[in-house]
């Protein structure tokens, strides 16, 4: 029972963290028309900025300042990099973000070193929130849940309930017309890119200390975020939300299942000591999102809620 409760909670929390990354990537895709390969690098920057800021002041200050800084870096990248490259087409944009991802990784290695840094969860939240059947659930994960829900509500209110949100949505689909109505579309795009990066940065701030903050974290997270965006349906925020939760839950439930193929298919004569029979379901967890990606592209190329096929 506690396995199910914990897998459910961890799955939802991980899913919401994925949504923090994929929501920004989805908005930026709608704007650029191509996937931003450097998106997870902003997640990494969020974690490293938070590590530095919390070292000199506190985690709570880092929680607010680091995403803003990452957003500003994103805005500068859009204003002085992508906007110029955009004129040369999608391939140039794609290659630009590809190069940027490596550039950020190398800069991080030079500044912080090649190994992980000691970015820890704050002492204030370093206690068990509750205990079920003898197993305790960390308070920090509950905090992550609240931050993620706060971000979700904030993004929803911004996009659906404010005039600025309406202008952003219209600019993503009809940039020329929005310009003719007197709205500064280049500024809107810079803001969207900045907000998208800031959300990724926020995910880095709250995720970097519970996972690992090292120069490989962007490369590890990047492909999963792409899976979320494609499975959800490229360009669809609702789809990205569903896919984030789906993949979060799928991975966490799979990790919790220690049964092997041999135990499950023993009635077919499969031995638990054979090579195939000794494989456990939990060992398949890292593979599942990519399996989902491949199956999705074959059977439903527009994703769960997307409008265009890839």
């Amino acid at each position: 029972m506690e396995t199910i409760v914990f897998a459910l909670l961890n799955g939802v929390i991980y899913g919401l963290l994925l949504f923090m990354l994929s929501s920004g990537l989805t908005l930026i895709f709608s704007m650029m028309g191509v996937l931003n390969f450097a998106h997870a690098s902003f997640y990494m920057l969020g974690a490293y900025f938070a590590f530095t800021i919390s070292g000199s002041s506190s985690f709570w200050i880092a929680l607010f300042i680091a995403p803003v800084l990452v957003g500003l870096v994103g805005a500068v990248v859009e204003r002085y990099g992508l906007r110029k490259v955009h004129a040369n087409g999608h391939v140039a944009e794609l290659l630009f973000t590809f190069g940027l991802a490596y550039l950020i990784e190398e800069v991080v290695k030079i500044v912080y070193g090649k190994t992980s840094v000691d970015y820890r969860i704050p002492d204030l939240l370093d206690f068990p929130a509750f205990t079920i059947y003898g197993a305790s659930f960390p308070a920090y994960r509950i905090f992550m849940l609240f931050v993620a829900i706060g971000m979700l509500v904030g993004l929803w209110v911004l996009l659906k309930k404010t005039r600025a949100g309406l202008i952003i949505q219209a600019a993503l689909t009809h940039p020329h017309m929005v310009g003719h109505l007197g709205h500064n579309v280049p500024l809107i795009f810079m803001t969207v890119f900045g907000i998208g990066c800031a959300l990724a940065g926020l995910a880095g701030v709250i995720g970097g200390n519970i996972f690992v903050t090292d120069p490989a974290m962007a490369v590890q997270m990047g492909p999963i975020v792409f899976v979320v965006v494609v499975v959800g349906g490229i360009g669809s925020l609702e789809g990205a939300f569903l896919a984030s939760l789906l993949i979060g839950l799928l991975q966490n439930f799979a990790v919790g299942i220690s049964a092997s193929f041999g135990e499950i298919f023993g009635f077919l004569g499969l031995s638990t000591t054979s090579e195939l029979g000794s494989i456990t379901i939990s060992s398949l967890a890292p593979m599942l999102p990519f399996l989902l990606l491949v199956l999705m592209l074959i059977f439903r190329p527009r994703g769960l809620m997307g409008e265009q096929e890839l």
Binding site: R163, L166, I167, Q169, A170, T173, H174, H176, M177, V178, G179, H180, L181, G182, H183, N184, V185, P186
Partner: protein
């Protein structure tokens, strides 16, 4: 003599290597309604796009005495130039009311129309105010696009092919609407193929051929020029 509101001198535009506008010259006075006529493909819509900054213009374009060629489209719009494109470009997933809200350039200094006043003027749109704009008919979409542009309080509106693809009865309604807009003192550059609409509303007529203006005159004078109609308009 008053200064022209919009002045276009020797305007050229290109699509790749194709030289589409070959020296367009025109003037629009404040409050004037101009019909820009011509066959398909002569560069009427490109003229509109070049003025609005959607196609890179070469030449001189001034609006209220200030050069606008090369400005970003939002800067041109904020000077008081409204644009209703041929593609209409409503925001289909947003409601009619939300579409109108986006027409307001600055909520702190809204234009002379409130959304309610606009919906009073167009009862069809009021009935659908909270429906997604994507479900409107072609005529209603055209009305909405014009209303949305009016919400930005423009002094001159360029309306590109407003009756394209609409039923004759709706064409009549759109013509009435444009006439009503003109009565409020807003200058209009109407890119139109249907002579009946254009001649009913316009104070002056320009005819385009091969990327330049080939005729300019009043509707009464134009009515007598069968040679112009035959050479540049009849198919």
């Amino acid at each position: 003599m008053t200064e022209p509101m919009l002045s276009v001198k020797d305007l050229h535009a290109f699509y790749g290597k194709s030289h589409v506008l070959r020296g367009v010259n025109m003037e629009i006075m404040p409050g004037e309604v101009i019909a820009l006529l011509g066959r398909n493909g002569v560069g009427r819509s490109t003229t509109a796009k070049a003025i609005m900054g959607e196609v890179a213009p070469k030449g001189e374009i001034t609006f209220k005495g200030k050069p606008i060629a090369g400005l970003e489209s939002h800067q041109i719009a904020r000077m008081g130039l409204g644009y209703v494109p041929e593609s209409r470009d409503i925001f289909p997933t947003m409601t009619v009311r939300q579409n109108l809200v986006l027409g307001v350039k600055d909520m702190k200094n809204p234009g002379k129309y409130s959304i309610d006043q606009m919906l009073d003027m167009f009862p069809n749109l009021r009935a659908r105010a909270d429906n997604p704009a994507g479900v409107l008919s072609g005529g209603e979409k055209q009305m909405l696009t014009m209303c949305r542009t009016l919400m930005g309080d423009p002094e001159l509106i360029i309306i590109d092919e407003p009756t394209e693809g609409l039923a004759p009865k709706i064409v009549q309604q759109i013509g009435d609407t444009i006439a009503e807009i003109a009565k409020t003192g807003v200058a209009i550059l109407l890119v139109e193929q249907k002579l009946s609409i254009a001649l009913r509303i316009a104070n002056r007529v320009y005819v385009m051929g091969h990327g330049e203006i080939v005729y300019g005159g009043t509707p009464a004078e134009f009515a007598t020029r069968d040679d112009v109609k035959k050479e540049w308009l009849e198919v």
